[in-house]
Homo-oligomer: 563 residues x 2
């Protein structure tokens, strides 16, 4: 099948110009670009009357699980936004299901019109305090590298491990480099000697930069900078000066973590492109960063441009500056037009893998007593949530254990539980949290970084029990409980992380969860399920809760609840 | 071993700036770049007092055989010129020895301080008229791709084969693309639809462009442009405008064919860098093209820059604009300093391969009668050499066969013989050539593109016989004979293409051959052995001689000597 796109203004990312020309598509690839192509060369000829065409956008670093959608769901959501390729790190599902989780993501993204490339999770579990569903070493990743869509090793977050010479950590990097694949980085604020040491192992990128100076040093030192605009972390504002100099040649765009509502309403990579243009950057240069640069960064050949032999991932734009996407061609087929996406076939996945990710919850029904704290004093270390941040503080509070087992909603002191759910070990960490604002009821979720154990926050043990059991019953998900009744829920049956619905349904269900949580008192500046999900990540200061109790992240050691 | 290069002006090819800093080398790689490194960080600390350092240069396309040196010989010659990496196409030796010739080149370049990457010859033999030593199909190349230094398929010269759908030709390209390797191009003056077709197979570069317009179209269409400055073809003058726009990001520098004398006197890639700077280009940008760009073009990771984790191929320059190379570090070791190159160990090569390339001449001693032409008329097609070009004309001359078997030095009509030497088939093409100027004696050589049969030009059959037998006796080489005496000779025992001596000796011997040929009458504007070497290449118009007789290249068919 040959299609001619006639009378287009082509965004040429090689010459950084706009050409008035015709584009001939043959099957999955661009066959030619030139005014000499006519309707006689094609089976179908479309006169685009001066519309812009540009290469499809690439998200250089995403955790698909963070969209709460499967790869199929994401494809449906991001193709209309012009993202035709993503490089995903299945870090979350790997923490739950190990190598099988990665294999599931590979199969679940095979043959989609969205090109899904995979970077292998480098830090499973994230720390030694975590009780995740799997422990991945270099040897476990070995077999996965042979998949053509596996480009390398994902964000090496354990930069202390690299700098201080942890052998198992370094082995993962060197094995990847030996295979001539790429290694992504994640090392916020690292600089100078430490940065040199870290980068010298071949770690080629970073997506955690927030300031121009931080990013510039990394570019000087050979790294690619991934300019991130996620749902929480937004770095374009701080980094946009990179686009003004030759440094732009070493930058790509990424979303990292972006929720379905933001994708639906604000967009995906197109949102970053639009923002950069609004900041006064040249649209052609910005589009090059969103396409060709990512292909160069990862060594993806014959992609990221509209040129003969290149994959025909093409966007048709009504307006270049507004990046208003009218149509999307993926591998030569028009997948999105006039606000409608074509039906996307769900990939076939081995039953064994489907069974594994669909049965990732291994936890018996809980009782009220499971949430009880045995008082061993009255002064406790309490996690204090900070509005708008995933950082937390540690505060020492005097709790009254004569009432409601220490909970005091008047003082905004709630109970928090993190319960191991991968191997039914019975491990649980129970403590207290302040700053959420909940006046009654409870929240529970199976999304809790990075090990994704069951996390529950509540105003009383009964509601916590009901919320927890609802998540267990769904085999993963999120819920809001009031007076022992479930008033909102979202099922995430795939590893407890992803739902099977499309973005609109997911976004609506999420919105219901959020508004119901607010009805129970959650403050305006607290994202209930997002803030809760990071309370269990013991790499972000200061005090966090794990399945085996509190961790003082600054001291990197476990601490007791009672002082 | 750690070495600190202190107080340097570093040419940073990422930021395109010059930084005053220190560079720490650890073993083969750059460990760090920063003013915070002191002598305490290193075993050896060198204060460079403000000298410039820049990444080693990369030659993106070279036929090492054309330097008449082995890879070891080239390393000795080009490292002092700042070339620390070459991407070679062993097309010539493959035409003589097939896959074994390529294996020989791989082994002969293993472990050298010069990084030698290999592109597999795509067109052996160059045409169906050629009688080469081997015929290479896609399946023959298969096993070679597994070598890590094999980056892809070399210049696909058979562009008509690609455009008109020759299956065996296309198979070579698609097999390489399937392996996710790169394919270089060679398609002078191709444009429009034909160029689109050719490029659409994934052919990613071209080194034959001579005009800005020609090159610009290719960059528009996604190709990399290799700006060539060889001994014969010089394209920088015609292409330098590419360096002024964003197109520079898609350009690299190559020599293609460059003789030892030119390397010694004018330089190698440094010569192109110098010329570009002299044309007013920014030295930092030009150095980036000579280093990082080539790494990006071929997907060579962690190379082409001075940054942590990058291979420590570093040049120390006295003067940036003059590119005066004071010292060269190759893989972290100082290999050249103060005009002296360190001794380079010769690579170990399998005896079997050495035997094959050292015994590539299969031809019995010739007699005077072997050069005799049986007159079948007196009007002959004669090859007319054009000064300064490798193109030839066809002229019809009336020859007097009563004297000297048709040779007439007064009219500058000499005899020409191309004798099959790979399989001792006895095939030979004998005819006449004009425009050389030889008044007496004969010239013979085993370098005759692309099949490298034995080629002889002479003023009489006896001298031709002596010259031919001298080349046979040497097992390959070049010679000048006068009155049946050898007055100059150069031994090329490796496949009849390469000598075992260093550049200075090779250049001196070449110069002797040239001057002795001139003494016998060869004209000023004729390069005797270079012009002779292209008389047998039946892809360059108009009339050429092969082992089976004359070929009319314009009609692409064999023609008789006698009209």
């Amino acid at each position: 099948m040959k299609t001619l796109l006639k009378n287009v203004k082509l965004v040429n990312v090689f010459t950084e110009t706009i050409e008035e020309t015709n584009v001939l598509i043959d099957g999955e690839i661009v066959a030619g670009v030139g005014t000499y192509y006519t309707s006689e060369d094609a089976d179908e000829c479309r006169d685009l009357a001066g519309k812009y065409v540009c290469p499809g956008f690439v998200d250089g670093h995403i955790h698909i699980e963070s969209t709460m959608m499967t790869p199929w769901g994401l494809a449906n959501a991001c193709l209309p936004k012009g993202t035709t390729s993503v490089v995903t790190d299945p870090h979350e599902i790997a923490n739950v299901c190990g190598v099988d989780g990665i294999k599931y993501m590979l199969q679940a993204s095979e043959g989609l019109p969205l090109n899904v490339y995979v970077m292998l999770p480098s830090c499973v579990p994230a720390t030694m305090f975590d009780e995740s569903g799997a422990n991945l070493f270099a040897k476990d990743l070995e077999e996965l590298y042979s998949n053509k869509r596996v480009l390398g090793l994902a964000e090496m977050m354990n930069y202390p491990g690299i700098i201080y010479g942890d052998e198992a950590t370094i082995e993962k990097v060197t094995e990847c480099v030996k295979k001539d694949k790429v290694v992504d980085g994640h090392a916020p604020l690292l600089k100078g000697r430490d940065l040199d040491k870290y980068v010298s192992y071949g770690i080629q990128s970073d997506h955690e930069c927030s300031s121009y100076e931080e990013a510039y040093e990394r570019i000087q030192k050979g790294q690619w900078i991934m300019i991130r605009e996620g749902s929480a972390a937004k770095n374009l504002e701080g980094l946009h000066k990179l686009i003004d100099g030759p440094e732009y040649q070493r930058c790509v765009f990424v979303t990292d973590d972006r929720n379905p509502m933001d994708i639906l309403t604000e967009g995906h990579i197109d949102n970053i492109v639009r923002k950069a243009i609004a900041l006064g950057k040249d649209p052609v240069r910005v589009i090059k960063m969103a396409s060709l640069n990512a292909a160069l960064c990862f060594g993806i050949k014959r992609a990221g441009a509209i040129a003969p032999g290149y994959k025909a991932d093409i966007l048709i734009l009504d307006d270049l500056n507004k990046v208003s996407i009218k149509e999307v061609y993926a591998s030569g087929k028009c997948i999105y037009a006039d606000g409608q996406i074509s039906e996307i076939k769900k990939p076939l996945i081995d039953k064994k893998l489907v069974d594994i990710v669909s049965n990732s919850f291994h936890l018996d029904t809980l009782t009220k007593e499971d949430f009880y704290v045995e008082p061993k004093g009255n002064k406790c270390r309490v996690i204090k949530v900070i509005e708008g941040q995933i950082l937390t503080d540690e505060v020492i509070e005097e709790l009254d254990f004569t009432k409601n087992n220490g909970i005091n909603t008047d003082k905004d002191i709630l109970k928090l539980a993190v319960i191991e759910r991968h191997k039914n070990t019975g491990h649980k960490g129970i403590g207290y949290i302040e700053g959420i604002g909940l006046k009654e009821g409870a929240l529970a979720a199976s999304v809790s970084h990075d090990s994704h154990n069951l996390i529950v926050i509540g105003s009383n043990d009964e509601d916590m029990m009901v919320a927890a059991n609802q998540v267990i019953e769904m085999g993963g998900g999120m819920t809001v409980v009031k007076k022992q009744e479930v008033i909102a829920k979202l099922s995430l049956p795939v590893a407890g992380l992803m739902g099977i619905n499309d973005a609109a349904t997911m976004a609506k269900d999420n919105e219901t969860l959020r508004s119901k949580a607010r009805e129970l008192g959650v403050k305006e500046n607290i994202e209930p399920f997002m803030n809760m999900a990071f309370v269990s990540l013991p790499v972000i200061p200061s005090l966090k809760m794990t399945t085996t109790g509190l961790v003082d992240v600054n001291q990197f050691k476990k601490v007791d609840l009672f002082v």
